[in-house]
């Protein structure tokens, strides 16, 4: 790809992601509505409130841009931008069909997880710069939580890489031509589940959304944010969630592989299913306490994913 091509492809991807993310909020609201025997958005745009996300975006855009006086102005304004940029950057490495990937490098998986783990810095900056005790508590929680859950996340990510023998996304996809990695006996399922759990924790989703636990910390790190800056956090969260859903479908569900339909349709379908599973978890579970969450991480997920990686490695080296 030439430079101009890369830029135009990047712009298209960016626009598409933001559009998709906006509509994912609608999907979530509709889905949670049905789950809770409500209707969900209905009035803005018939049928079924399809204009709701746009109305929300316009409302947030037209709100006053507030920077509270006692905050650290520079950091306060940097944090939302940081979160959005880091969440969107990850998409550059994700293949959306077998051949369509913006940046195809051999260490794609590594890059993706490295960038994904930078999001927490934005969250921490937000909590620190807000000059608010609730935000500070939340930032401390977020830092502890995400650093801890990075370990099982990476360890379970490595299992597909070990099975495929590559860190390149395309190789991982092509290695699943015979069977998806989630169907790989025991090892595949364990790594799939631990990855999903760790990703939920990293993406601040229930049952691990301790850093924005609104029943304790009101809103957590984004308590002082309003208007478009708040929307940036929201956008970042959903973009990250979308990226994680795509990643699960690539690493464990064969990504674009599938009969009859084209690759793009398959990956979209699989991503949607993963996304809905995440929503299902979110709207049916209560929240864990911080110590219980750490316990789950260090006593269950880390040993489990570590042992799992070992088994996968042994299996690969023995079968060779």
């Amino acid at each position: 790809m030439t430079f101009a091509e890369s830029v135009s492809h990047g712009a298209i991807l960016l626009g598409a992601i933001i559009g998709v993310v906006t509509y994912l909020t609608w999907v979530e609201r509709k889905f949670s509505g049905r789950l809770q025997s409500r209707i969900g958005p209905y009035l803005v745009g018939r049928p079924h409130g399809w204009l709701q996300p746009i109305a929300d975006a316009l409302k947030l855009l037209s709100k006053e841009d507030i920077t509270p006086t006692k905050t650290d102005r520079f950091l306060f304004n940097l944090a939302p931008i940081w979160v959005v940029v880091m969440s969107l950057l990850g998409f550059a490495f994700l293949p959306l069909t077998i051949n369509w990937v913006l940046v195809n490098i051999d260490l794609g998986l590594l890059y993706f997880s490295a960038i994904g783990s930078l999001i927490v810095i934005g969250v921490f900056i937000a909590g620190w710069a807000s000059n608010n005790k609730y935000a500070l508590l939340s930032a401390l929680r977020a830092a502890a939580q995400i650093v801890a859950y990075e370990v099982p996340l990476l360890l379970s990510l490595l299992v597909p890489a070990v099975l495929a023998g590559s860190l390149n996304f395309q190789d991982i996809i092509l290695a699943q031509e015979k069977y998806w990695f989630i169907l790989f006996p025991v090892v595949g399922q364990i790594s799939g589940i631990t990855f999903l759990l760790a990703a939920l924790a990293e993406g601040n989703r229930i049952p691990f959304d301790l850093s924005e636990a609104e029943s304790e910390l009101v809103a957590g790190f984004n308590i002082e944010y309003s208007g478009m800056k708040f929307a940036y956090f929201y956008l970042g969260e959903y973009a990250h969630l979308l990226a994680v859903s795509i990643l699960v479908s690539i690493l464990f569900l064969g990504g674009p592989l599938g009969p009859l339909l084209s690759g793009g349709v398959w990956i979209a379908l699989k991503t949607l299913i993963v996304f809905l599973i995440v929503l299902w978890i979110r709207w049916s579970f209560l929240r864990l306490r911080i110590d219980q969450m750490m316990m789950l991480n260090w006593k269950v997920l880390v040993p489990l994913s570590l042992g799992n990686l070992l088994v996968a490695g042994l299996w690969v080296s023995l079968s060779r």
Binding site: P207, F285, R289, Q292
Partner: protein, 380 residues
């Protein structure tokens, strides 16, 4: 206003939880001193919802007061007016017809169910947040509660503040087919309640968050004067409906569920079992509803003509939150001389400063939620 430094020791973080906070169940302020995530000291502040019910009582005639008392504890209105009405009846020596007593029991128990459903829903919000599984439980519980509200509406014309209790009886009689409607709703509720019970008790997160959290020892519960499910969860089988029966409770057969440990989980199980008992009480009382008048006094036209003899009386009822007592002093005029409301929530939240230190911030919410305070009741 004088500025006061509440953060004294270095390393302690003092945060103000409330008066505007998603999980303080109304307007309640907790001054939390944290070391890390652990609470080291807590000072509760109340009074944000004070509406002067006691003072108001001194300026209004007796028959005007039951509706005022219904506004006191806004989750179980009839229990409040019942306590007041019982006190007046005791003082003035008014007999209440048997049918009226049965109707009082029916409305009180239906509202106990509604109140416990609200508690279960908001407890879910406390544990799971308004943007997660907690809100699902919350909305389910409110959907069920709506059925009870509908029943109240068909019975009295009002969904909530029913004005059911009057001095000397009740205001509304049941209509034809009321029992059929109620039995249908009760069957529906019974099914749903067991469903939620199953859903929560098989949920490891719920168990982790409530078991061994906020243990209230029996002595402490007695010392602060706790009552209702909070006291019973600590192992004291004290229920006014059983120990000092009022209205028609002595005629029904029901159990008083008791916990043994006194943690948040016990308080949850006690309330859930109570809901089952309430279902059975309503069934019994509606099945054996006696015929007869619903009122022993003539309809009230001029409230100032009704006077009580000089003296004092105390009547207590078992509200969904515990012992709700009204102490009434009369000087023989048409208005009370002094009324003191002994509200259960007030005594129950007195537990907070004793048991909170040592718990995590997240437990603050689940402990407060499990005590089920209603701040209209606390501040009166």
């Amino acid at each position: 206003m004088e500025e006061r430094v509440i953060e004294r020791e270095f390393g302690e973080l003092a945060i103000n939880m409330g008066p505007q906070h998603p999980s303080t169940h109304g307007v309640f302020r907790l001054e939390l001193h944290l070391r890390g995530e652990t609470v080291v000291k807590v000072t509760p502040h109340i009074g944000y919802l004070h509406r002067g019910v006691e003072k108001l009582s001194e300026t209004l005639e007796y028959d005007m007061l039951p509706p005022i008392y219904e506004r006191d504890d806004y989750l179980s209105p009839t229990a409040n007016s019942l306590a007041f009405v019982l006190a007046v009846e005791k003082l003035a020596g008014i007999e209440v017809p048997r049918r009226a007593n049965y109707l009082r029991v029916i409305t009180a128990e239906l509202q106990r169910l509604a109140s416990h459903l609200v508690w279960l829903g908001t407890f879910g919000l406390d544990l799971g947040g308004s943007l997660g599984g907690g809100s699902t439980l919350f909305l389910y519980c409110f959907r069920e509660r709506e059925r009870i509200m509908d029943l109240m509406e068909t019975l009295t014309g009002t969904r909530f503040h029913t004005n059911m209790n009057q001095i000397g009886g009740v205001r509304y009689d049941v209509y034809d087919g009321f029992d059929r409607d109620v039995f249908k709703t009760l069957d529906y509720l019974e099914k749903r309640i067991s469903e939620y019970k199953e859903m929560l008790e098989n949920n490891p997160i719920f168990l982790e968050r409530t078991k061994d959290v906020g243990i209230v020892p029996q002595e402490l519960a007695k010392e602060v004067g706790a009552s209702g499910p909070v006291l019973r969860a600590s192992g004291v089988a004290y229920d006014i409906r059983k120990n000092k029966p009022y209205s028609a409770y002595q005629e029904f057969n029901f159990q008083v569920p008791v916990g043994n440990k006194g943690d948040a989980y016990d308080r949850y199980t006690v309330r859930l079992k109570e809901m089952k008992e309430s279902l059975s009480i309503v069934r019994q009382s509606l099945g054996g509803l006696p015929e007869g008048p619903i009122h022993s006094r003539k309809p009230v036209k001029t409230p100032s003509l009704f006077k009580t003899p000089k003296g004092e009386a105390y009547a207590a009822v078992e509200s969904p939150r515990g012992e709700l007592g009204v102490f009434l002093v009369s000087d023989g005029s048409s208005k009370p001389y002094r009324v003191k409301v002994r509200s259960p929530s007030f005594s129950n939240i007195a537990i907070i400063p004793h048991i909170l230190p040592g718990h995590l911030v997240a437990d603050t919410v689940s402990i407060l939620g499990s005590l089920d305070p209603v701040f209209g009741d606390v501040d009166r």
